[in-house]
Symmetry: C4
Subunit: 256 residues, 4 copies
Amino acid sequence: MSSTEIYVLEEVELNNPVFIEALPGIGHVGKLAADHIIDELEATKFAEIYSNSFPPQVFVKDNGIIESMSNELYYLKDVGENHLDLIILVGNTQALSPEGQYEVCKDTFDFVKNFGIQRVFTLGGLPVGQPLEEPKVLGAANCEENIEILKEIGVEIRENDGGIVGVSGLFLGIAKLNDIPGTCLMGETLGYFIDASAAEAMLEKLSVLLEFEVNTEKLEERAEETREMLAKAQQMEQQIINRASGADGEDLRYIG
Amino acid sequence: MSSTEIYVLEEVELNNPVFIEALPGIGHVGKLAADHIIDELEATKFAEIYSNSFPPQVFVKDNGIIESMSNELYYLKDVGENHLDLIILVGNTQALSPEGQYEVCKDTFDFVKNFGIQRVFTLGGLPVGQPLEEPKVLGAANCEENIEILKEIGVEIRENDGGIVGVSGLFLGIAKLNDIPGTCLMGETLGYFIDASAAEAMLEKLSVLLEFEVNTEKLEERAEETREMLAKAQQMEQQIINRASGADGEDLRYIG
Amino acid sequence: MSSTEIYVLEEVELNNPVFIEALPGIGHVGKLAADHIIDELEATKFAEIYSNSFPPQVFVKDNGIIESMSNELYYLKDVGENHLDLIILVGNTQALSPEGQYEVCKDTFDFVKNFGIQRVFTLGGLPVGQPLEEPKVLGAANCEENIEILKEIGVEIRENDGGIVGVSGLFLGIAKLNDIPGTCLMGETLGYFIDASAAEAMLEKLSVLLEFEVNTEKLEERAEETREMLAKAQQMEQQIINRASGADGEDLRYIG
Amino acid sequence: MSSTEIYVLEEVELNNPVFIEALPGIGHVGKLAADHIIDELEATKFAEIYSNSFPPQVFVKDNGIIESMSNELYYLKDVGENHLDLIILVGNTQALSPEGQYEVCKDTFDFVKNFGIQRVFTLGGLPVGQPLEEPKVLGAANCEENIEILKEIGVEIRENDGGIVGVSGLFLGIAKLNDIPGTCLMGETLGYFIDASAAEAMLEKLSVLLEFEVNTEKLEERAEETREMLAKAQQMEQQIINRASGADGEDLRYIG
């Protein structure tokens, strides 16, 4: 009995769109890259996704107006040389529990599958131990064909050194069960730092794969905004985790 | 499949009521203020709310009679200069899990929405580091209009410094999705102390917003009662958390 | 969507039975007392209760045969001077999660309510700091009338010093919602020790309340058996808790 | 409302098959033994099992292709002197939560029961404190008859020294409720080491019980492969546990 609620803001028809997932994750490499595409190419939000598995909180924005925890779907039409349609999944959170992760992924996938998606890209970060002059982008996929494509454009293949935790992994698995080719791009990052250069490297590879152009001039400015939002978010989330695990003397009931 | 059970004690008709949430939270500022309104203005309890997400326990009161964990809805008719009807949500607990928090909020909101609520107020506390001579009341809202109203009556707007965790946040988000204007009032408090002066400051602002009068003479006396109840509650809750997180050698199965 | 499964072993008709809950808890005072009644008065098991919220494990008994985690319902007919019928709830576990605690309680209550139960007793332990020469039995109830009955027979009323965590509390609350009088007897105990003298004190009070006789000669022998069973159980449960809370490097997936 | 999804890859008819469970567990003794049978006797995969209770992640294999968390069912026909049909349950994970453990077990059991299974074997490990020259295989069962069979072939009976945590225990309990005889074989192992000699001892006993032969020459080679896979898995799982329990400053939302 899923608790995922999808609010459709605009009925839209898309032509075999590419689905790109970029929810908050390690170093927010994917989120930063996707938010930049949405801004630069002026994507349109057409759906909001809510779940009981999201953190039970709201953010307070600069003007005192609250922002609920949610995922959002944007679309773009006729992008780049191949005139591609895109669906981009972004948001301010992922589900807290394992069950919630699966549930929100499946419900979101079922929703976007109806638009006839033909390819899936998930954008994540890969934590590295030291600062990098030139962060690489690594790749994994749910089919041989996509691995070959990644190799052709010079994306290093991630091999047998762990896995992909969270939605960036789950969407590849769900896509595979639906016979839809999927690729995960992972930008090397220090992880605890919103990393404009990692996002830039990722945008570059994504531009080649999807054959579109995106101006990265304002990327550092956006990184700064994201840093501020996240400092706030992480502080709240740590509070919830501490409470849930009894690390301090308070718990959820004493908030509010 | 929600486990929320709402027992209606009295069928009541209300005229576009204002909904006020004041469940236990930081410093119990909201709870103390709302309990005081209920007592002074002689509000009538008309519904009890139970959930499997509440802590699995009962309190033992002074006379040896047990009290279940529950939320309660009270109504008031024809209050103040504007002859407002009010629905007030109070109780001795909030849900333990994130999923439970969302579930109880949604089910409660669906219930009160049927009474035609036009505005939502959520009352919470905001922890501050040191004792305050004159605790302020800060505000946030789910729409621009309410922010303006708060500014007009001298409530400081809380800006971009975290968020609102728990039901006081969630009700604002749910109200927004239902196009109902909502405001959160947060009373500055030390947090670990039941703070009559914070509740008094909050009652003052609420009186202005809703244009009604409430005598605050007995507030300190009520604060004392609340302190005793909470000392008991927090002790039990800490036990549950410790057990759930394995911090001691016992667990839920060995209680009872 | 409850996962509680109740297997009926014998269709039985009972005459307004008294329901007694005695699941594992603090010092296993209630469990020891109830197991003794079942044994001495030769009660008949008529139902087994299973739940997905019980610990995911089985015990291995002396002969190498496994025992599932379960609760069990026994009945007795025509007991004592008042010819009472009894339903006794015992078992080797309580649910692990808060939600599970509520769910199993409600489903069990709905099942026994159909037999026309008129009174509810829950048997628990109350931890005390030091060894006691003569452990007392304290009481709480869900109605004034039961408090008076307890006072009449010399049971000290527990007042405002905490609460009752787990099923012994929840059954009182559920009974109250169903207008069925309920009493909790709590035997003082060191808690970490299976305490035959605490169970004997409890049996004595219960005998007076229900007007029946039970020979307590074999109680110490039974206490010894229970100690062995519990040493085993607590060891396993601690393992599960440690794993669930990440206290060691293993988790549930690496068991089996 | 179960989230277990069973994908049938091949419709197959089996003749009163024996069901063997060998999911990842202590020392991976069972998993190693079962994977070896599948490989040597060329078993056919006929179903894949997915659950929202599995860890929310995918593995990345050597070639950069992802592998979802799943359980798998293989069949073998006409094995050994008794021409037995077998169903073997293997996989790369067990469910994370207690509720998930029960749910996946029950759903899997319901599925294989339809093939007319007559016997159940669950294969696990039993951690011992020091390295063993000749690891023993211990046994437990859900009926007297199976205990006698184990004794006849020289399997030591495990008596009253704890229990069986996870699916290897749960399947025995579920089989018992379905009147199907079940046996658990537990190979002594250091636990943190993939132990080819423990798996070999288990295969030997299983060969006698089911009267079939299996070449164990390549067992050490397979052990090595399993070690590599598990090093990867355990690292990821520890990350999830740490996050879920707040042991580090990150949580699930910041992965991906």
